[in-house]
């Protein structure tokens, strides 16, 4: 879904460019709350993962390609603001490193693959986590659904931009149907990978999942190694 140069006409490219820039600017301000000196490396890792995931391309109807988007994973692990930054960085680096996605189409690409996926996925994730019982399984299930929905949502946004700024007159209904249909399939793959990863991380490093950091047990003090006449006192 990386749009190349010349695919979308100038007015829509400029408009989405403005939207993307504004979105990233807001995310930069918001991320100051999420990003300390340890979450910066986490954001980098999430970006590296999203980068790798986006390299897996599936052929999609009407000749375009589809691939995993990673917006949901990013938002759930590092929070929505940093998540937007991660995916945007990935898109930018893909454009300059691999010529994947046009430089002048960055606005379109960031808007539908960073902003839309993160907003949809994170909104849905929070909603589900709030309504489901507070267990690890709920977190995993919520991330599955959030990831599943975020992919067709992004495809729909892409189709919308094409309807507005496509350089050719094609029957939009058909295109939208095909895009959404195929992206539901991709969404299933995305959902499985997102849920597995989030599940694995929650299991052993709950501190790394944004919003699930309040599971700390109190520390214990001892004067001798446990096992042989241990005296313990609670701290």
């Amino acid at each position: 879904m990386h749009v190349p140069d010349g695919f979308i006409d100038a007015p829509v490219s400029v408009a989405t460019g403005v939207v993307a820039a504004a979105g990233v600017a807001v995310a930069l301000r918001g991320s100051r709350r999420e990003l300390d000196d340890r979450t910066a490396p986490l954001a980098g890792l999430v970006a590296a993962f999203v980068f790798a995931a986006q390299m897996l391309n599936f052929p999609v109807a009407a000749g375009t390609s589809g691939h995993l988007l990673g917006g949901a994973l990013a938002a759930i692990l590092v929070g929505p603001w940093t998540g937007i930054l991660c995916v945007s960085v990935v898109l930018l680096m893909q454009a300059v490193l691999f010529a994947d996605g046009g430089l002048t189409a960055l606005g379109v690409n960031i808007t539908d693959m960073a902003l839309v996926t993160v907003v949809v996925a994170y909104g849905l994730f929070r909603l589900l986590v709030k309504t489901l019982p507070r267990t690890r399984a709920s977190v995993t299930a919520a991330s599955f659904v959030a990831a599943l929905v975020s992919v067709p949502a992004s495809a729909l946004a892409f189709t919308g931009f094409y309807a507005l700024g496509g350089t050719t007159d094609v029957p939009m209904g058909t295109v939208a149907g095909a895009m959404v249909g195929v992206h539901v399939l991709i969404g299933l793959g995305e959902a499985a990978i997102t849920a597995l990863t989030v599940g694995a991380v929650v299991a052993v490093r709950p501190d790394l999942v944004y919003g699930a950091r309040d599971l700390v047990a109190p520390l214990e003090l001892r004067t001798a190694p446990a096992g042989n006449g241990t005296e313990t006192k609670a701290a």
Binding site: P206, A217, E220, A224, A226, G227
Partner: protein
């Protein structure tokens, strides 16, 4: 059990101890608690061995000494300075840590750049920087490898470069987490010579008991997340009951009573 004793031979009479750990407790993020209240004082210029079974919490303790791990109970002071966010820069200039896994330590594209990283970050430039790097690489015998990428070296070579990266920073306090593992015997002896020649405080984690005896007048046994013994190394090694309790057996063919420690 040998009670906590500050080795009196070393200049630990200095008013401010190099390292002062009090009541340190720590649990990893997955909930596993590794330290349960550790107290330890190391005087300036002392060389202390930190012994103990696998999983005792030695590495966890070491990672607290320059503020890499924080957030548990208790505290650490380095030369009187508490390990807190605002002092971290100064503390990391004072304390050099050689990690147990050299892959964690080496991250630059070439050995030379890696060794230069620390001194460069503290402001050294030009010929001075170069001399510092060259000297550190010579000390560990890796000067020929300066232009190779560290991840293309053998494990023992990487360990030597890891030691060099810390030596190049000329810290006042050297903390080494099993520095001699994977080194060939000659490099092991050379490392001992280097450590003996430096005028710094040394805390060395090791499972090599003869090496501890050779190099450190004082030893501390950490076991199950607490200090189990602290005293002159030879006394600890001769206390068979203590040794056995903490999985510290003397190796095959070694008798601490009969060997003479180099000066």
């Amino acid at each position: 059990m040998v009670g906590p004793v500050n080795a009196s031979s070393s200049p630990s009479a200095s008013p401010v101890p190099s390292l002062e750990v009090t009541g340190l407790a720590y649990a990893y993020p997955d909930g596993h608690q590794a330290l349960f209240g550790v107290d330890l004082t190391v005087g300036a210029g002392e060389r202390v061995a930190l012994l103990g079974p696998n999983g005792a919490g030695k590495t966890t303790l070491v990672l607290h000494l320059n503020g890499i791990l924080t957030g548990g109970l208790g505290g650490v002071r380095v030369g009187g300075l508490p390990v807190e966010k605002k002092n971290l820069a100064e503390i990391r200039r004072r304390v050099g840590i050689v990690f147990q896994d050299p892959d964690d330590q080496l991250f630059m594209p070439t050995v030379r750049e890696d060794v230069a990283f620390g001194p460069a970050a503290s402001g050294l430039r030009g010929p001075e920087l170069e001399a510092r790097v060259r000297r550190a690489l010579e000390q560990v015998g890796m000067e020929e490898f300066a232009d190779r990428p560290p991840h293309h070296l053998s494990f023992g070579q990487r360990r030597r470069v890891a030691v060099a990266t810390v030596l190049a920073m000329e810290p006042q306090i050297l903390v080494l987490d099993e520095p001699s593992s994977n080194l060939d015997p000659a490099s092991r002896r050379e490392l001992a010579d280097i450590l003996r020649s430096l005028d710094v405080t040394v805390l060395m984690v090791t499972h090599d008991l003869p090496y501890a005896l050779e190099l450190c007048p004082r030893s501390v046994v950490l076991s199950g997340g607490v200090i189990a013994a602290d005293g002159p190394t030879r006394d600890l090694l001769c206390d068979e009951e203590l040794m056995r309790r903490h999985r510290l057996e003397l190796p095959f063919g070694f008798d601490p009573r009969t060997v003479t420690v180099p000066a």
